[in-house]
Symmetry: C2
Amino acid sequence: MATRWGICSAGKISHDFTVALKTLPPEDHQVVAVAARKLEDAQEFAKKHSISKAYGSYEELARDPDIDVVYIGVIHPYHLNTCLLFTNAKKNVLCEKPLAMNTKEVQQILASAKKNDVFLMEAVWTRFFPVSVEIRRLLAEGELGEVKMVRSEFGVPLMHVPRAVQKELGGGALLDIGIYCLQFISMVYNGEKPESIQASGVVHVETGVDETVVAILKYSKNRMAVITCSSGVQLPNDAIIMGTKGTVRIPAPMWCPTSLVVNDKETEYPVPEPYLPLNFINSTGMRYEAEEVRQCLLKGLKESTVMSHADSLLLVELEDEIRRQVGVVYSQDCQ
Amino acid sequence: MATRWGICSAGKISHDFTVALKTLPPEDHQVVAVAARKLEDAQEFAKKHSISKAYGSYEELARDPDIDVVYIGVIHPYHLNTCLLFTNAKKNVLCEKPLAMNTKEVQQILASAKKNDVFLMEAVWTRFFPVSVEIRRLLAEGELGEVKMVRSEFGVPLMHVPRAVQKELGGGALLDIGIYCLQFISMVYNGEKPESIQASGVVHVETGVDETVVAILKYSKNRMAVITCSSGVQLPNDAIIMGTKGTVRIPAPMWCPTSLVVNDKETEYPVPEPYLPLNFINSTGMRYEAEEVRQCLLKGLKESTVMSHADSLLLVELEDEIRRQVGVVYSQDCQ
């Protein structure tokens, strides 16, 4: 039986997610409905993607009995209320990253999912790419020896993009793209909480959000990590794991990787071609997280073991501490 | 007229420096004498390199009237006293990096050089490679736009090398190899003092010296840098400058670079072949710093403008602050 998806918001990322879903077998994944705040946006989206139902409000989607799981593609300041809308309507949820603006909000979302007994996952799509599966295998089997250092970076010039710089839209490099660096090192260090964090960054004078952030994380057993993210300048955007027996490099784009270099030997893991042009690079790779959601639902799970609720909590706790040190405060932090 | 060199210590680095000197025209550079603490070591060294005079003490070298400049290749805990011996003997000095253990020691050395009116330079050989000259040209001509981020790293497994781990020998990754990362970002940011430093590291439990250090440096005008050094694990060992108009990468080994990648276009700058096997990689590249010393002496300068006394002071001040944050204290710090 196919997993029946509802798409919440008709924006760019929802477009890409829908394209990604359709690279999977239709007997496994169906897009049943799309909702936008304006009906005509939903209708246009539905027409483009041959979706039978279009709603002019998220509430209508929440009431639709034919939906197994909702994909939430709204910007992150709206994640809290949107997640709660669907969890309270007993809908399973896959919500874009970051799951919310701060720890308090993430805790509310996770509590609501638990209370309503629904599946909920933060859409950290990177973790489900074949490259990431292979990295976890290499780590689990000790092929790199003891990991001593992890470095991860993501920087692209985004200062012209309102979403990336305006505080009320959740702007800021860390939550927008730095989260990919954090999730990577958290995956490598298996969800462990770092012993200490030292962060420094550049805060955009006019908007008060972080333009560039560097953070050093120190873990138990003398293991370290460093992340760099920037919406001000292009970085190489690779990631690297350095162990006593070997080195693994994930070439750019590290957040949606299609190749892996293990001790200088490169292997390719291409993503499928899209049936419509994409807004973002390698977006058909969202198919892997969608399939994870399906597998979890089939097993009756309420969270994924690969990107668990604890993983989301750890991520946002790291984000909060780094923002505190760099000096970025959102209105949500003051509520 | 040839610059007449005296070599102080007959160790591995002195061997390589002497080999490097002999890649330069003999009418420009001559090695006149070598001194070691044991006469037989000096004699063996002299024989191997066809040097006419061998001394069993540094004091004899200091008294030799035929020496224009002394190359000091002893380990860094001895730099202070050895530098003072030669500067007080009115000898010009090229001293291996780090110039000394801490700021107080560097200040003493610089004061002595000034008082005795001799030339003195810290042997930061990297700065004189053709690659570094080209980097400074690119920066000066604005070809990278505004530099926003500099990343530099140097890590090799050295925990089996006593010099690298024993505190009384000046062990510790930062002073041994991290200095190359620091000098690189200081060169890129033109000797400017950073506004802030955030450092974290792993201190070797048994020896109390730093095994791994990561430091974030924040400069004026929202410019940043990050260095990673480790004597515990192999790192990629490249360096990269990220500007608004372009990116420059210095492939490994970044501390003695022979190639430069400007916006993905690579240019090679090979160093000459040695006449004897070297102890360290690309050591004939020390010829460039030797020639800088000669040019300074010919002009009657007491310091190099490329690696000035202020540059050495800045370097050691950065080292001191990073060590303070990481928690590495040498006996010299307590005197």
